[in-house]
Amino acid sequence: MSTETTTTTTATSRFNIWEWIFTTDHKRIGILYLIGSIAAFIVAGLMALLIRIEQSSPSTLLVDPSEYNVWLYFHGAAMILAFLIPGLTGFAANFFLPLMIGAKDVAFPRINAFSVWLFYGAILLALLSFVIPDGPDIMWTAYPPYSIITEGNTAFYVFTVHLLGFSSILGAVNFLITVIYMRAPGMGWNQLNLFVWTTVAAFVLQLVFIPVLAAAVTLLLFDKYLGTHFFNPDMGGDVLLYQNLFWFYSHPAVYVIFLPAVGILFDIIASMGKNRIFNYKACVYGGIGGIVLITGEVWVHHLYVSGMPDWIRIGQMVTTLLISVPVGLIVLSMWGTLYKASITYNTAMHFTAACFFLVLLGGLTGIPLAMTAITVHLSETSFVHAHFHFIMAMFSTFALFAGIYYWFPKMTGRMAEGVLGRIGFWANMVGVNLAFWPLFIIGVQGMPRRYPNYERFPQFEPYHDVATIGAFIIAVGMACTLINWIYSAFWGEPAPANPWNSKSLEWTHTANPPGPGNFSEDPVLDENWSPYDYEAK
């Protein structure tokens, strides 16, 4: 199988910008998502550096708090809404999901193209926060009444959410229909790549929950600019309702990010370890399915100290803790897939291996935060901050980077293995631990989040300094990684047809990169086919 000589199609035609702008090819749309989300990532990453510099001193160092709040807003909103979600469900799903299921394109290619341009519109709108006077200073959560009475332009936040939400819903509809109706002949539900399953789950969550967030921020907009009183308690509004609606979407959004990241990791572990997925059905139906079922009933853990009735705080403590059951099944499958594997270590596998430890750190620190009484002390401290940076930010970013390395030959026809990539990995790995461990420690001691000044807590300064150094080491790692990608995309070593000897459809049946229509001949599969069938015959 691996001896077949497939011609690698690089630079088949001359570059034409209009072909990219008006493209309806899912692969090009995927690349557009990648470029847009990486751009958002770079800007939001620079904000993170500025935030860390400001926090290296207990008093005001760079700017006054109003500017700092705009940075924080942008960092949070852009990282989650414009980098992680579009990177994982926009880029990765667009490029690889049709390839993995043997489809020529998605169900509605033109709607797909429309989604990506909505996404670019949202990024532009978000970036305008820095240009307009009084940029939004409302954090990514935008809780009223502050988001209503502030002089900051809440509208930019609301319209950004609208555009991204609309884009995501269109994407979700498109991909769900693609997976349901356009799988290659013979491909059953139990033969799907785990990345396909996790992406399907993420899109189901997006489809159901995004409209709630869109509705909530729309009412926020009415309250601020049209003088309505949906969230004003004086006029019969409910000040707590917004928080409930916000987290009703935004907790599932964590799984919209986490699940595709896990899916990428599974595919990499299987390909690099030449191994079957451990307990595939338990992982899919128990793990992924379980998360989809439970994730809509746990949002109150974001509101443990928000004056909700006691019975709901206790009830959702139990549901939140129970999330550990499906997550535990997924984790067991991850670990089990290593068992008796035959692992080849390359840059993709390095990032993947790191994710095993990030998911432990981030996931296990979530257990105390699931407990209402423990969270009374920990909520809104940097413990929470470190927790979600490990599980949501760093774990998912590492998984996405692993995926980019893994699929780099597929996208560009060239390899991105090299010293620079390894330096990038190790700098990231060291930096992440330096940046966020100190925040766990001072979080337990009571360091509040979102504090540009912490003159009341001078004892925490050394910890913040270490975290700041860590952030800069991450920045070095990110720079190495990005330079490595750009260099390799143009001048990297040409890739063999199936560099990892993977059994997954996108590697066995398509060229690097795949041409229009993806498959030179339509793949037809039998019931014994599996993307994870590596058993020695």
Binding site: A107, F108, I169, A172, V173, N174, L176, I177, I180, Y181, Q206, L207, V208, F209, I210, P211, V212, A214, A215, A216, T218, L219, T228, H229, F230, F231, P233, D234, M235, G236, G237, D238, L241, Y242, L245, F248, P309, D310, W311
Partner: protein, 280 residues
């Protein structure tokens, strides 16, 4: 508004209203405007200050039979406190009568079994005799069971102590030979904290029902889940002193169907298109 016993009707009503009207704004109405040149706002209870304040359980009262009671005796169940006086022929008795008429429509919760009412006179001149006459007047020809107590303060000095505590202002107007006072129903939790203030004249039976549910502070029986769920459809309006529809909740629940509808429509379109291509 109907009673909570017909929650579905109210849900439907609420939905229709939310969709059609949006937030209706009604001017705060008072039961009786005593004199036009008095600032109405002095007859409002400042909820920012008064909410959550606990009544002093040690205050002693005397009922129509002359029996001595303590305010603490009224803990353990939600309580509606009505401040009134018994020798008037004006608004005070009407406030109590209004409450009586509203209760006739409240059938989700039973007076006595689920909550209590306490009418206390802030007029130091009232005695068990006027109390009895007044109680008889209010309760006459109703089937209201026990659970509604009429009383006076044993110690007149407790009157300002209690009214000040809740920001309740009243005064005697010699020319009118009457007290001017707010027409409010004060709702207390079972532990005796002020939870809601409803203004006579602008409330309906549904408001009383909702305020009583609120007063229970989330303690409801499993059989009342539906009532509780319905109560979420309303939120208290401080400006108007009554409950209004919680419109964002309707919008959010409605929006839950949006994605599913978009998906179903697209799936139909896709299948039709594929069938057309297949037959071609």
């Amino acid at each position: 508004m109907g009673s909570v016993r017909t929650p579905f009707r109210r849900l439907v009503q609420g939905f229709a209203l939310a969709v059609l009207l949006g937030a209706a704004t009604a001017q705060a109405a008072y039961y009786k405007k005593p004199v036009s040149d008095i600032d109405e706002n002095i007859f409002r209870v400042d909820e920012n200050k008064a909410l959550g304040v606990k009544m002093d359980g040690a205050v002693r009262l005397r009922d129509e039979t002359g029996t001595s009671l303590k305010l603490a005796d009224f803990r353990g169940k939600p309580l509606i406190l009505v401040l009134s006086y018994y020798t008037c022929d004006g608004s005070c008795s009407l406030i109590n009568q209004e409450l009586r008429d509203l209760l006739a429509e409240v059938d989700g919760q039973q007076l006595g079994a689920d909550f209590r009412i306490l009418t206390v006179s802030f007029d130091a001149h009232d005695d068990p005799e006027t109390t009895g006459a007044f109680a008889h007047h209010v309760k006459a020809a109703t089937g209201l069971g026990p659970g509604w107590t009429f009383a006076t303060f044993e110690d007149p000095e407790d009157i300002p102590r209690l009214t000040d505590r809740f920001g309740y202002r009243f005064f005697w107007s010699p020319p009118d030979r009457a007290f001017f006072h707010p027409g409010v129903f004060l709702f207390f939790s079972p532990e005796g904290r002020l939870v809601r203030v409803l203004y006579a004249g602008s409330v309906e039976a549904g408001d009383v029902d909702l305020a009583l549910l609120d007063a229970r502070q989330g303690q409801f029986r499993p059989s009342e889940v539906l009532e509780f769920a319905v109560s979420l459809c309303y939120s208290y309006n401080f400006k108007e002193g009554r409950y209004t529809y919680n419109i964002p909740l309707f919008v959010a629940v409605g929006s839950l169907g949006l994605g599913v509808a978009a998906f179903s429509a697209s799936a139909l379109v896709f299948r039709r298109r594929r069938n057309r291509e297949g037959t071609r």
